[in-house]
């Protein structure tokens, strides 16, 4: 009998390109770049349009007001909003000693968003030789770009880095696996059966990962009437799917908040509003949870 044919696992290396090694070295560069970051939170939801980005922005801003060094990474590459929300993007990218200097909002929150570099009128496109078949490679390309951003930005010393994730239960899990178990998750939902049903899938999906789910936030929980000051129901009352995770806070919908968010304002402009106070309470609660972990 001759020598058995070698299998894939019998052979060390790949003959010269060391593709796996290159991927591992990129991971090492990311770890080094994030070495000064104490906490990482991902704001996610299975459902789109629940206010993840607005909440991420004002949550980070509230934490900064409480003395934390804070930054946001807009991980929604196809619908980036944090540049507008943080009112950054007019300055050119500046290379610093250890990577791209992090642009800052007026209230001192670091903001990295593709929206600062690609006009809102343009879609995010990748060059490709595989025309018309982007579903076969696009997700891979997007995570590679995310790696490049994580490794190539001067994050510096941060108390918290907030990831504003794109919607989708499957995307939530992909990001959990990509970012690693040190990233804790906060899910955002609405008081509607439709949203809670979808977000419940995200709760279940995150159970398959090693990431910690801190809880969920009920956004647009009523309408804060500017006239009478009362908070009234925004969605019809009905059965919602219970979420098997702690409710961290409830944020009422406030048109003034939506308006100031669109122009890159901060909650400093409306500190007494119910929405601002709810977000501030949420920020303090999350800071306590993270510090006690």
């Amino acid at each position: 009998m001759g020598t058995p044919t070698r299998t894939y696992y019998d052979i060390v290396g790949d003959g010269g390109s060391d593709v796996l090694g290159q991927v591992e070295r990129q991971r090492g560069r990311i770890d080094e770049s994030l070495s000064g970051v104490r906490h990482q939170i991902a704001v996610a939801s299975g459902k789109g349009g629940v206010g993840k980005s607005t909440l991420s922005r004002h949550l980070a801003s509230a934490m900064a007001r409480h003395g934390w060094e804070t930054a946001i990474l807009d991980a929604d590459l196809n619908g980036p909003t944090q540049a507008r929300l943080g009112s950054v993007g007019s300055a050119p990218p500046v290379p610093g000693p250890r990577g791209l200097v992090l642009p800052r909002s007026r209230d001192g929150v670091g903001v990295l968003s593709l929206g600062a570099y690609i006009p809102e009128s343009s879609s995010v496109e990748f060059e490709s030789v595989a025309k018309g078949e982007s579903y076969t490679w696009r997700a891979t390309r997007e995570f590679t770009l995310m790696s490049e951003i994580l490794a190539g930005v001067e994050w510096g010393t941060l108390d918290v880095l907030v990831f504003d994730l794109p919607p989708g239960a499957e995307r939530t899990v992909q990001f959990a696996e990509f970012l690693g178990p040190e990233v804790a998750f906060v899910l955002v939902t609405l008081p509607s059966a439709l949203a809670s049903g979808v977000v419940a899938r995200s709760v279940t999906a995150l159970d398959t990962t090693r990431n910690r789910l801190l809880g969920h936030v009920l956004n647009m929980d009523g309408y804060a009437c500017a006239g009478c000051g009362e908070v009234r129901p925004l969605f019809p009352s009905g059965e919602t799917t219970p979420l098997d995770t702690e409710r961290l806070g409830s944020i009422p919908f406030d048109p003034q908040l939506a308006q100031l968010s669109d122009r890159g304002g901060s909650l400093d402009e409306m500190p007494e509003s119910a929405a601002a106070q709810a977000i501030d309470n949420l920020a303090r609660k999350l800071m306590n949870i993270l510090e006690s972990a």
């Binding site: 052979i11 990218p93 500046v94 000693p97 496109e125 990748f126 060059e127 490709s128 030789v129 595989a130």
Partner: protein, 158 residues
């Protein structure tokens, strides 16, 4: 992916990468024992998958167009788009390089400033080059150095 010479039961070694053509790349492997060679020829989808991983094959960067990137040339997926949006670009596709952005007044980059540029994500490099060189012109500097980059950081409130 690994290649095995069945005749020798030896793993083949990367020999060279051939000239790319129409989205296909050619990677040659050789058995270190019998010197038998094979070529792996990728179709455009396979090329794209490799490109999407952001890795290099045989020491050459594989661009999204299936071509091996030249030293110092961006492999940025947004390069053309970003360059097209840069205020000084006229053809909408040309990618600025350090000291070579479109302007009558050429600006040079010191080695240290170039090293900083290489460390930022590739997709923002064209905008950084255009913007920083404009900042240098506005300040009357013929050269971009690390001190000027620090000044730009302060100037733009970062």
């Amino acid at each position: 992916m690994k290649f095995l010479c069945l005749e020798c039961n030896e793993p083949m070694k990367l020999y060279e990468t051939g000239p790319p053509e129409r989205g296909s790349i050619e990677v040659k492997y050789e058995c270190p024992n019998c010197l038998h060679q094979i070529a792996m020829l990728t179709n455009p989808f396979e090329t794209q998958v490799v490109s999407s991983l952001g890795v290099t094959i045989g020491g050459e960067i594989v661009n999204a167009d299936g071509n091996a990137a030249e030293q110092g040339v961006s492999k940025c997926p947004f390069a053309a788009k970003v360059a097209g949006d840069a205020p000084q670009e006229s053809d909408g596709t040309k990618i600025p390089e350090p000291g070579n952005s479109p302007s009558d007044e050429k600006i040079s980059w010191t080695e240290g400033a170039r090293a900083r540029l290489d460390r930022i994500p590739a997709f923002v490099r064209p905008m950084a080059i255009t913007g920083i060189e404009q900042f240098a012109r506005d300040k009357g500097h013929p050269q971009v150095d690390e001190l000027l980059l620090d000044q730009a950081k302060d100037h733009f409130g970062m």
